[in-house]
């Protein structure tokens, strides 16, 4: 069996895909990649349909395959080397059998992605291959795990793309939600004026954000009947610090919601590193629909934005890190 072996793994490396919609009624949220754009970028760089990838939460790991395979690196940029030679991020590469791929910590953002040609040949659980940690589906990968590689019909490598900017916080567009009007008007106004910071508490279920001073707690918040939760919902628990719920969130909840981040801005939420500044702006439904249409258009257009990775040696500050004479380099990059 050919496979990708995990030699060493960061604390939050999981297999992810687009998740499993359809089980909400049974208490299972859809889950899937925290940054759907990065999943699509990885697929585009390998010229294959969107499928599985390894999601690297904050830190990568060391990997080796016993057969030659293609890889793409996307999402939060991380320092990566192949047998010691630096690899360009947001690009696809050939990985020879036995070569060691080393991926370090995120230099910006949170979630990096390693996509392999053909994807991982894993069996589905409830219609998807992604780990859903809070539901106990799948697990965080450990050293020694071997991920079977599916047959790879593609050949494209040496491609690069310019990522959509989303790794440094910024403005989030918000629609009103079920309890928005329960929050006093001055509180809602303050919510759109203040600069929040992403707290260190956060995971695939949701991220906590810190207001600069006063919180957003509601005394009437304890008597709300539990209702469905959707990714993007901004819940305010008793301590007044908002949580933005992500794809692996609980399916119902009773804490009041001040609004919902639109789907197009969720990758930006996922990729906001601890300390990143976040702001909120209420938008009209028309503006949100326009953003959604634009978001889908960009995803569809992604394969067309991928271009060959050609590096001009005169423009390479890291030129000396390549052992050009011996030829044991990431040679594809120089073609």
């Amino acid at each position: 069996m050919s496979g990708l072996e995990v030699l060493q793994a960061g604390p939050g490396v999981t297999v992810q895909d687009m998740g499993r919609p359809g089980y909400l009624a049974l208490g299972l949220s859809r889950g899937g990649a925290a940054d759907r754009i990065a999943l699509a970028e990885g697929a585009a760089l390998l010229r294959q349909p969107v499928g599985t990838a390894l999601e690297l939460a904050g830190f990568g790991g060391r990997f080796r395959a016993d057969v030659p395979c293609r890889i793409a690196l996307s999402g939060a940029p991380m320092r990566a080397t192949l047998d010691g030679a630096p690899l360009v991020w947001n690009a696809s590469h050939q990985m020879p059998a036995g070569a060691v791929l080393d991926i370090g910590g995120a230099q910006a953002g949170v979630y990096g992605y390693l996509t392999v040609g053909g994807g991982f040949d894993l069996s589905e659980a409830l219609g998807a291959r992604s780990a859903h940690l809070s539901a106990g589906l799948g697990a965080v990968l450990q050293a020694g795990d071997v991920l079977p590689l599916a047959q790879d019909g593609g050949r494209t490598v040496g491609q690069v793309l310019d990522p959509v900017a989303r790794f440094d916080g910024g403005e989030l567009r918000v629609l009103p939600s079920l309890q928005t009007t329960m929050f006093p008007e001055e509180m809602r106004a303050r919510f759109t004026q203040e600069v929040f910071r992403r707290d260190s508490r956060g995971n695939r279920m949701g991220i906590r954000i810190l207001p600069p001073e006063e919180g957003y707690g509601l005394t009437s918040g304890q008597s709300i009947v539990s209702e469905v939760i959707t990714p993007g919902d901004i819940q305010i628990p008793g301590d007044g610090a908002p949580y933005i719920l992500m794809y692996e969130c609980q399916t119902t909840g009773g804490y009041p919601r001040i609004g919902t981040v639109i789907p197009a801005d969720l990758p930006r939420v996922a990729q906001a590193a601890p300390g990143a500044e976040l702001r909120f702006r209420f938008v009209t439904r028309d503006e949100a629909l326009e953003a959604e249409a634009g978001y889908r258009r960009r995803l569809e257009a992604l394969p067309g934005t991928v271009r060959p990775l050609i590096r001009d040696p005169a423009q390479m500050p890291d030129l000396l890190s390549y052992s050009l004479i011996s030829g044991v380099t990431a040679g594809e990059e120089l073609s």
């Binding site: 919609p21 009624a25 208490g27 539901a135 106990g136 009947v225 209702e227 959707t230 439904r285």
Partner: protein, 247 residues
Amino acid sequence: MPDDILAGCPRIEPIGLDGVIVRFGEALSEPANRAALAFRAAVERDVPEGVEECSTSLVSTYLRFDPLHLSLDRLTALLTERLSAEDWYAAPLPEGRRLLRIPTVYGGDFGPQLAEAAQAAGMDADAAIAALSGARVRVNAIGFAPGQPYLGTLPEAWDIPRQAGLTPRVPEGALVVAIRQFVLFSVSAPTGWRQVGRTAAPLFRPGSEVPFLLRPGDEVFLDAVEAGAWDRLAADPKGGIVTEPLA
């Protein structure tokens, strides 16, 4: 029907860009839960084009749709029309429901807060076990975690509040009680509700042929069994549960 609970309902409200909920009440009540279940069943029998998923919470039906292919206005109009076609509060419960008898060990290590909960309900522990195990409850909603049921409604005496603090962790299968409802935990989790017992109910078994044990609308007895039965229940893949169809 008490007007204050159902005031202004049913009501259709957007949630996020791609969802609407149809809310049948502001607080849990039997008619509102019944309406939510029945309305969802009706929507699923004839799913409007563009609707991708449907679920219920305690008193509302949720629909997720593709907002670029079905406008909120159009969906709202459609749902309004369906709402007015029938008295959903009086609608029969969906078909295909079942009655499950789930063996439960009450008290002791299996229900460390039984005495506390009994006291809050104004009775002694034995009376509490008799009341709780004798109550026929309905799965009002599945939610929070996979396969995890909210079961109600318990008799008035069980309108007891959540505890002030959180229990850091109850085990899988824990039966907890508050506000005239049970929750049966499908995973180990923290809770603010009091743990009165434990079951071996296989609520979520992703690898098995039936990954989810309960569905909204099912009815349940949490029958009291002796602590000595626990090992046998835990070893049984079905947790000792007996299921029969409900007409």
